[in-house]
Amino acid sequence: MIELRGVSRAYGANVAVRRVDLSVPAGQLVAIVGDSGSGKTTTLKMTNRLLEPDTGDVLIAGESVRALPPHLLRRGIGYVFQRIGLFPHLTVAENIGITPELVGWTRPTIAARVAELLELVNLPAAFAHRYPAALSGGQRQRVGVARALAAKPRIMLMDEPFGALDPLTRDALGAEYRRLHERMELTTMMVTHDVLEAVLLADRIVVMRAGTIVADGTPRELMNDHTDPAVRALMDMPRRQALRVAALLDEPEQSA
């Protein structure tokens, strides 16, 4: 579905991504993890041309992303990012309906889609006429996800989508998104620095370091066996944390 072929991108003398190849089959949820500066966000943004690669190409459904003008490409790809970027002068309904409006859907169709999406992201229908300033952080990101899904994209790109939320909201929203991903048969690339989130949500984890992919596999594969010591240390962290948490519990809940 998504195929990155030898893409590179430099900011001046600083090379952010070097010759990355990555193929994401339809229906997969791929998490890209790595330290800050490892090139994961740059890789994501080259997929919907928020950044243009210096070399290489990105193909979606077999066709180069350069076949379309960037704005038309982006209307077909959902994009969610940590800072959300809801338009403060538009209501929740207008924010969610923006891409369908740009694409030229009729008003009744947009209204119906907004209602449907509010329900999907578990927001009350009455929120449609509120302005973003009247929402909590978690509610705003639910609107952000609904906006990205509005024009029925097949692909979702998410850049630290739940990074700024409190842990409970973050966990709940992550799980809810995973169900949406399945139900709507999406293909998702999600950048996160949280290995636990990647392990719990993704079908596949790609680890980046200094602009290249250093590991690529299912959560199970990467957690159980990897030759690179840094990758092993990274992927082992959820387990070590789980053990430390378990040690704090007074009595084991299960002894199976």
Binding site: L50, H71, G76, F81, G85, L86, T99, L102, A148
Partner: protein, 519 residues
């Protein structure tokens, strides 16, 4: 009600209407240009710096100078257009004022617009791109709406500036609330000066509040608020436009420079034209050079100038021929070179003259400029704004070897006050000025003939040269105003006790002319 206040009220609809129309047109044009430049500036840093730099530079030009600069510029353009397209346009009045004020309005709007758009949260820009907006959609749907409150604050600043600066359009021939201020200052009608200031300030405040209503309407997304502000503004401009169709093209336009004598003579000519059955409009308070160019371009039809001024400033001559020869050469030159008809002299001279308090002259033993020469090293000379730039000054200085200890420049009302209060020892008075007699000043003789003759001459634009009505109106004035009569008329205005000012003095002068003609 006070007579002066009543007189000021009477012309308020005209002055205010013109002022509103000019300001509104300048704001409308300025806003359109500013928005385009703002858009270009936020899109490209290569455009941003030049645009902001030029807009800031314009702001550093004093607004009066900016207005004055547009006149010669437009005059040149008009003559080019006349040659190329066979059609000229008026370079006086509305157009130069409009362009200067338009430029003047742009900086605050552009600066606030650029700041507003560039200051937006980058997340909003990323989101706008992410949802698939084109650059244009992003601008119209996200950037401009969100920057609108900041932009509107700039519009408010611009509106207040423009309404204030529009008072300065009077000297380039545009009627505005500045007419109160300029003519009031000239004829010492402080009621009129204050009235003009208060009217302009009130207008600025009201417009600022209405724009504030629109601004808060935008900020709070309250359509009703914004609409009320916009409707009130539109209604104000429409009301100003209604009586605006007054002065048609068949009207005779009389020019006047910015001093009492000119106000009186323009009123006198207007009355004469009206008496012959013509319609007359006055463009008063014009700069000296502007009045002549306006006549040459046909923007005004008739005005009074002085032979020496035209000889030195327009013809560029530096010799000092005898009076009759100068008048003859001047008349021929005007007809030949500029197509202007010099109808004749009014009968008095308004020359530069060095004048001092009688007691001071006696104390120093000075009667002629020759006597003065030996003493000039310890004396201070007060002059009007023009004098030191005119050929009279070097001519006088070189002929008598004058070397003053100090030189100061004044608006002429204050120049007389300065010699009166002994702040300066002598001044460059005008020979027809009523204040010479009133203030008991003595005029120093010019035995070496260094000062040009300054006969008051009536000039008529080429297209009115053969106009019978105008000829009938002007003829009775030729040679009919001796200097004592003009001095007396000027003094009626300058001593400031005639509430109706120049028009009343003009009527008094007309009566005196008629009385003397009967004798």
């Amino acid at each position: 009600m006070n007579d002066r206040l009543a007189a000021a009220w009477a012309v308020l609809p005209l002055y205010l209407g013109e002022h509103v129309l000019l300001s509104a047109a300048a704001m409308g044009l300025g806003l359109a240009l500013s928005l385009l430049l703002t858009i270009a500036a936020v899109r490209s840093p290569a455009v941003r710096w030049p645009v902001l730099l030029v807009a800031s530079l314009v702001q550093t030009i004093p607004s009066l100078a900016l207005l004055a600069l547009f006149y010669p510029l437009l005059l040149a353009l008009a003559s080019v257009s006349e040659r190329v397209f066979g059609r000229g346009f008026s370079a006086l009045g509305f157009l130069p004022s409009l362009l200067a004020l338009t430029l003047y309005s742009m900086l605050p709007v552009i600066r606030n617009g650029v700041t507003g758009v560039l200051g937006l949260d980058p997340a909003l820009i990323e989101a706008a791109r992410g949802v698939g907006m084109t650059d244009r959609q992003r601008l119209l749907r996200v950037e401009l709406p969100l920057a609108a409150p900041v932009l509107m604050a700039g519009v408010r600043t611009a509106a207040v500036w423009v309404i204030g600066a529009a008072t300065l359009s009077t000297p380039v021939g545009q009627t505005s609330l500045g007419n109160y201020i300029f003519s009031g200052l000239q004829v010492q009608n402080w009621v009129a000066v204050l009235f003009g200031c208060v009217a302009a300030a009130t207008l600025a405040l009201i417009v600022d509040q209405l724009l504030g209503l629109i601004e808060s309407g935008i900020a709070r997304r309250n359509r009703v608020r914004g609409a009320i502000g916009a409707l009130a503004l539109a209604a104000g401009v429409a009301a100003a436009a209604l009586p605006g169709a007054g002065a048609g093209r068949s009207t005779y336009v009389i020019g006047a420079k910015s001093f009492s004598e000119q106000y009186i003579l323009s009123a006198l000519i207007a009355d004469r034209i009206a008496a012959e059955g013509g319609a007359a409009a006055r463009r008063t308070g014009l700069g000296s050079a502007i009045a002549f160019e306006a006549l040459a371009a046909g923007d005004i039809d008739v005005y009074v100038d002085y032979s020496g001024t035209l000889w030195a400033n327009v013809m560029g001559r530096s010799d000092v021929p005898p009076r009759e020869q100068l008048l003859r050469e001047l008349g021929e030159w005007l007809r030949r070179e500029r197509g202007i008809e010099m109808v004749g002299t009014l009968g008095f001279e308004n020359a530069y003259a060095l004048a001092m308090r009688r007691d001071r002259a006696a104390e120093l033993g000075v009667r002629t400029i020759d006597d003065l020469a030996a003493r000039s090293g310890s004396l201070t000379l007060g002059a009007d704004f023009e004098f030191f730039a005119r050929p009279e000054w070097p001519a006088l200085r070189d002929a008598y070897g004058l070397e003053f200890a100090g030189r100061r420049e004044f608006q002429s009302t204050f120049m007389y006050r300065a010699v009166e209060s002994r702040e300066v020892d002598l001044i460059t008075a005008f020979s027809s000025d009523g204040r010479i007699a009133a203030d008991d000043l003595v005029v120093l003789d010019d035995p070496r003939g260094a000062i040009l003759p300054y006969d008051a001459v009536v000039l008529v634009a080429a297209r009115r040269a053969a106009d019978p009505l105008l000829a009938r109106a002007l003829m009775p004035l030729i040679g009919a105003i001796p200097v004592d009569l003009m001095r007396a008329a000027n003094y009626r205005v300058d001593r400031g006790d005639d509430p109706e000012g120049p028009p009343a003095a003009a009527r008094w002068l007309a009566d005196e002319i008629a009385r003397r003609a009967r004798q």
